[in-house]
């Protein structure tokens, strides 16, 4: 027990262990910012806190030596999601600096759901044996190569196993299925969201047809230019 208390103290005391210090820092920022997302009522403030929370999570990944996952977290979650979120805010907000108010009933429901999820996650996290021991060592020279090889069908971590005659097949098929699915969704979204063509003739077309100029004359050319340019 004394040993555990000492190790906790060591991880709290920054000058003994930078690794522990940064873990506490990132974890603290992630948790506080996540709570702030829920508590603040300004949409853009929420976005900022979400950026902080997700960015601190990326920091945790880098700290654990999972550089590829950390960069992914930055690219997809921090970058993509938040730019999309800000787009949504800007396209939907009717007044500037809009404030959101959550009804009390929603707060209760959300609280219950969040508590249940947290309980499940904590239970799951503490049930894994290898996560209970502290100091498994910092991963040395992390590399994304095994991930890439596994995606194209070669599991490099399985090759060393003498019992396996050939490497396992990896994740090529799931990867392809997911990417094709995403492509279909993308095309569908673009089809649904694209601007409908205008049926009503525009004034400039009416003028052009009423003038009954010969095709190729300067007036016709310029009106086509205008029509084409505004398309």
């Amino acid at each position: 027990m004394n040993h555990e208390a000492l190790s906790v103290l060591a991880s709290l005391f920054p000058f003994l262990d930078w690794h522990g210090f940064f873990f506490l820092l990132f974890a603290g920022v992630a948790c506080v910012a996540a709570v702030m997302v829920v508590l603040s009522d300004n949409v853009v403030r929420m976005a900022l806190h979400l950026v902080l929370s997700l960015g601190a999570t990326a920091g945790l990944f880098f700290l654990a030596g999972a550089e590829f996952v950390g960069a992914m977290q930055l690219m997809i979650y921090v970058g993509g999601t938040l730019v999309l979120l800000v787009f949504g805010v800007m396209l939907t907000a009717q007044t500037q600096l809009v404030a959101l108010r959550t009804p009390a009933g929603d707060r209760v429901i959300a609280g219950i759901l969040a508590a249940a999820l947290l309980a499940v996650l904590v239970q799951a996290a503490f049930s894994i044996d290898s996560w209970q021991k502290a100091g498994q060592g910092v991963a040395t020279a992390p590399t994304a190569t095994p991930l890439g090889m596994a995606l194209v069908g070669v599991r490099v971590d399985q090759v060393a196993d003498e019992n396996l005659v050939r490497p396992k097949s990896g994740y090529l098929l799931p990867f392809e299925i997911v990417s094709v699915h995403l492509l279909v969704v993308l095309v569908g979204a673009a089809y649904l969201a694209r601007a409908k063509r205008r049926r009503v003739p525009r004034p400039v077309d009416l003028v052009a047809s009423a003038d009954s100029v010969k095709p190729g004359s300067p007036v016709a050319a310029s009106s086509t230019l205008v029509a084409g340019g505004s398309e």
């Binding site: 900022l48 950026v51 938040l82 800000v86 600096l97 040395t140 020279a141 490099v156 090759v159 060393a160």
Partner: protein, 406 residues
Amino acid sequence: MAEFLIETIGLPVWLSWTAIAGLSAFLILNVIAGGALVFIWAERKIAARIQDRLGPTRTGGRFGWLQSLADGIKLLAKEDLMPDGADALLFRIAPYVSFCASFCAFIALPFAFDVVGQRLNVGVFFVVAVLGLEVFGVILAGYASASKWSLFGAMREAAQVVSYEVPLGMCVVVPVMLAGSMDLVTIGEKQAGWASNWFIFHDPFTFIIFWVYYTCALASVNRAPFDLAEAESELVAGFHTEYSGLRWSFFFMAEYGSMFLVSALAAILFLGGWNGPVPVSKLLGLSDGMAVNAPYALRLLGCVNLFLKAAVGVFVMMWIRWTLPRLRIDQVMTTCLKYCTPIAAAMFVGVMLWQLFLPGGLVPGSFQNAAGVREGWLEQSGSEESVNKDSLSGITPSRRIAEVSR
């Protein structure tokens, strides 16, 4: 370096890591700040030259070379204004968000072999991901200013950066494919030797995709002709309309830092990185051409090489800015979606096929053997090559597997 402090001098572990981290951060900060000073002066002189003027001539004696410093002092002395309706917190932190994104990307950028803040195995990916975050500061600034000009500017910037990340990502993948690694140090080392080893001269497709990359980089750092976010003829000053003084200058530090960053990235990915066009040190017998064994003086020379190449890239950006008119927003989108993305995709396929069918170039043996730095998973090779491979990619498959299974 931290290991050197720990083992040779005997400093405590935490102190040596702190010292090295502080030193790296200090150097990177100076690269950005010093670069901004030099480039702002250069921009004034180049703009003047192109417009048949003289530009700054008096500050600091000849050539007005102290002009940027005088500007900096002026900015420091300016009143710090904030609009009444602004969201105070977001308005204040927005410039720092932009600057931090620019600064963070520099952490993973190597200036020469192993002269890098933190060598990342996914360096290219990290730099591109962090560079995309710079737009968040701009969006915050535009939204928090409570001004329509700012909001318009921020919206344009957001649309532009989100669109141009797609072709930019595709262009960046090509050198990664050729080098077989996302590590920027490895990519740079793969191009050691004569200039024909540079990836831009690897095949016709890479030559084209370099220009696509440069166009997309120009758009993603918000420079003319893609500077719609601050189009002064339409939007007063765009997203930084309401900013003044030091906060305003932080936006410009971020912009010039990003310009230098994407140019340096272009140099590393396509233009041979820190390797000169002629392997002088190898010809003179000062080194064996392998950066691993090169003395530190040569690495310093590599830094100079990279800075020169990046400076040329920044110069071309300025040249373009004062030569081309600004695009309309629909033209910006057309350039991205109808030209850059399809060209990048086609060139990507082209490079892939070239690698498949003509891995040695059109004339077999016309490429010199670059340093054997490919991260060779599952690949058995000769002893000499594998030694260099060990030291470059850090760890060999067998050792890695052994560690994983342990």
